[in-house]
């Protein structure tokens, strides 16, 4: 019984702490502006395959993303968003990893 309380409580706490779940921006807007150098990986919805243009490697987070294989030219599949909106599962280099928007916003990609 108590666990139900815990879970209900968690859901409500999440709502209270996190009123601002970033909505996935529409992909069509990006297709219509092909001149842009790329978009942040965080802005794309699941279901797309993209290619990495670059990672802001000046911070430890960015360096780690490079070490994880987010290297320019790497194709990345955007697979699934978590029920609470974040993190998102990505497929690259033969494996699957989930990252939060705070990290994927460092990755610039172009859509295929």
């Amino acid at each position: 019984m108590k666990i139900v309380f815990v879970l209900l409580f968690l859901q409500s706490m999440t709502a209270a702490f996190a009123p601002d779940i970033t909505p996935a921006s529409s992909i069509t807007a990006l297709d219509s502006t092909p001149a842009r150098p790329g978009v942040s990986l965080a802005s794309l919805a699941p279901g797309h395959t993209v290619r990495v243009i670059g990672v802001d490697g000046s911070c430890p987070e960015g360096e780690r993303l490079l070490d994880l294989g987010f290297i320019p030219g790497t194709p990345v599949e955007i697979l699934k968003r978590a029920p609470l909106g974040d993190p998102v599962v990505y497929g690259l280099r033969g494996y699957r990893i989930c990252l939060r928007a705070s990290e994927t916003s460092l990755i610039r990609v172009r859509t295929e």
Partner: protein, 630 residues
């Protein structure tokens, strides 16, 4: 071991990412001989095993799982420190363990390892899975391209283990790369791509099974429901299903103590053996059923690959308080008991998150607080219905649970944003393919945890339990003439060191509304929180810990003031004190064991005592004011 015959002993470090099959391989190499401990000063698990490899004595070191040698976390600093010989003696040889199916990513780490001078070989695990998924890898060609020995194994089936042992025992003859791999991330990726292009004649396809299962498990609705179901089972297991075994141990301890009293002549020796020694041993092994069950399920879910998915579902919530999804299981387990909860933090990958979770876990209302809450609520909260079946007593209990949980989340938020802010790390979590767990690995993982608890925390718990028995028993005094057994027992307790300490502490706890009797109860509750009920029963010379004790505390009147001792303000204050205070030596012992220093248990004890004192003081004042106004 016959070290005399094999003078040159070998230190072999295993490096690999989490999920690479490194742990399976380590267990296959070392069996049950692994020693689990901690690296000095950090909450990073140290696992070493001394074995004979091809008749050569070898110390196998299982390094923490890592995706990179650019150390940004304490775990990675340990990996680099061990390789460089800054932590202990440097290994003579390194084996990079890589999942053959994710070779592309694993080679990125291998490229970093190969920049070190230490002889290195590459061990490819899950080669059966690679073939099943249609991948074809040319091992001899990979060996030539890398310039180091490469060997394929199936760790959990023992395939290739003989050849692996043979190879690992002889690093002096390993080939070394002609040119070290490039340094920059882009160049390293190019190096990996060029090698793979020539050796991976067919890339493995996606795992069909994993895809199919993930369609359900990562589904927003089905996945959330499954998460809830797994967590409810988990909670039920720790909270309820461990109870029969714990009752059995409790009964066994009681029986053994009874036998001692019946066999030995009444006196201090019998008291010491029965109530000090046997009860102390009991207070250690009482945790074993919970810990065994917890780790069986925890490692089972981990080995299958579900743990990462569960963390994925709850990560955003935990992220809000500065932690990550995996810490959730720890906090949930802490509702049963902080001991398994804190031990469960071992599956949290980041050392900082581990520490924060350990520090807030004692705030979660554990089952040992329940008897205390039950006694006070039953005695002082009227059993009236508020709305439908919901009563005031139930609401009071729920309120206490919420107070503890919300405080834990708030303290975690504060700790991650202040004291431990600089250690914040990027979050990333691999979703491994689903795999069949093997009983062998599971048994050795669970045994490792249970034996570490018994060895490291058990000794501290036993020592303190005996010390507390001493304080509650000595000095012995003769009971007043004509006193019955409960009165004699009360008299003995009042004049013991603990009883005297209770009197001495009275001025300190008076601002919280506590008298010396409650202070003695608090000292006794250090052994385990619920012990306060037994201690109070002894002080009030109550014939049982139920109705009789309830009546006694309700009726108790302070002889100096003529007022009731347990006023609503005192009861509220005591309840709040129990929500916050860390008066549990077993928890302190396990924090000591998990963080490998007395600094963190001291910190946890102090901040929770300060919190408890402040909150109880405020509660006492407020309720007294409201009570007077009403």
């Amino acid at each position: 071991m016959t070290s005399a015959t094999f003078p040159t002993s070998l230190r072999l470090g295993l490096i690999g990412s989490p999920n690479s099959g490194k742990t399976t391989l380590f267990n296959a190499l070392t069996g049950m001989r692994a020693k689990v401990g901690n690296y000095p000063g950090v909450t990073v698990e140290r696992r070493e095993g001394r074995v004979l490899l091809d008749r050569r004595e070898t110390i196998v070191i299982d390094l923490p799982g890592t995706y990179s040698l650019n150390a940004i976390s304490p775990d990675e600093e340990v990996v680099c420190g061990v390789i460089d010989g800054k932590i202990g003696e440097a290994p003579n040889a390194l084996a990079v363990i890589a999942d053959a199916c994710t070779l592309e990513r694993s080679l990125l780490v291998l490229a970093q390892v190969l920049r070190h001078d230490t002889p290195t070989c590459l061990v490819l695990t899950m080669t059966d899975e690679l073939h099943a998924r249609g991948g074809v890898l040319d091992l001899p060609r990979l060996e030539r391209a890398l310039g180091i020995p490469v060997i394929g194994v199936v760790g959990h089936k023992g395939i290739g283990m003989g050849a692996l042992r043979h190879l690992l025992a002889d690093p002096e003859h390993w080939s070394r790369p002609q040119i070290p791999p490039p340094v920059s991330a882009e160049d390293r990726a190019g190096w990996v791509d060029s090698i793979l292009a020539s050796v991976l004649t067919s890339r493995p396809g996606v795992s069909r099974t994993t895809e199919a299962i993930d369609r359900i498990i990562l589904h927003p609705v089905a996945g959330t429901l499954l998460f809830a179901a797994v967590m409810i089972t988990f909670f039920q297991l720790i909270f309820a299903w461990a109870t029969p075994a714990m009752d059995l141990i409790d009964g066994g301890i009681g029986w053994a103590a009874g036998r001692v009293h019946a066999t030995l002549p009444a006196g201090l020796l019998a008291d010491f053996i029965a109530d000090g020694l046997i009860a102390g041993v009991g207070s250690v092994i009482i945790f074993v059923p919970q810990i065994t069950l917890l780790f069986t399920l925890l490692y089972l879910l981990e080995d299958i690959g579900y743990m990462a998915r569960a963390a994925f579902v709850i990560d955003r919530f935990m992220g809000r308080v500065g932690l990550e999804g995996r810490a959730f299981v720890s906090l949930l387990s802490s509702f049963a008991c902080a001991i398994p909860g804190i031990m469960a933090t071992r599956t949290v990958p980041s050392a900082r998150d581990r520490l924060v979770t350990i520090l807030v876990a004692p705030l979660i209302t554990c089952s040992a607080r329940l008897p205390v809450f039950a006694l006070l609520i039953a005695a002082f909260v009227p059993a009236q219905a508020v709305w439908g079946p919901i009563g005031l007593q139930g609401l009071a209990l729920l309120g206490l649970y919420l107070l503890g949980s919300v405080s834990a989340l708030i303290v975690a938020t504060i700790l991650t944003r202040t004291l431990l802010k600089r250690d914040s790390l990027p979050f990333y979590m691999e979703l491994p393919p689903y795999r069949m767990p093997t009983a062998r690995l599971l048994v050795s993982q669970v045994w490792g945890s249970v034996s570490a608890f018994l060895r490291r925390a058990g000794t501290i718990i036993l020592t303190v339990s005996i010390a507390l028995w001493f304080l509650l028993t000595f000095p012995t005094v003769d009971p007043p003439a004509g006193a019955d057994a409960p009165a004699a027992s009360r008299h003995a307790l009042e004049h013991s060191y603990a009883g005297r300490a209770g009197h001495a502490l009275e001025p300190l706890v008076a601002p919280l509304g506590f008298d010396w009797k409650i202070a003695v109860g608090l000292i006794g509750s250090l052994a385990a929180r619920e012990v306060i009920v037994a201690t109070l029963a002894q002080i009030y010379a109550a014939s049982d810990e139920g109705t009789s004790l309830r009546e006694a505390i309700r009726a108790d009147v302070d002889p100096r003031t003529g007022r009731k001792v347990f006023t609503p303000a005192t009861v509220a204050s005591l309840l709040v004190f129990f929500v916050f205070a860390l008066q549990c030596v077993s928890t302190l012992a396990i924090i000591r064991r998990e963080t490998n220093s007395w600094r963190w248990p001291a910190f946890a004890f102090s901040y929770l005592l300060a919190l408890a004192y402040g909150a109880s003081f405020a509660t006492y004042r407020i309720v007294r004011y409201l009570d007077a106004a009403a």
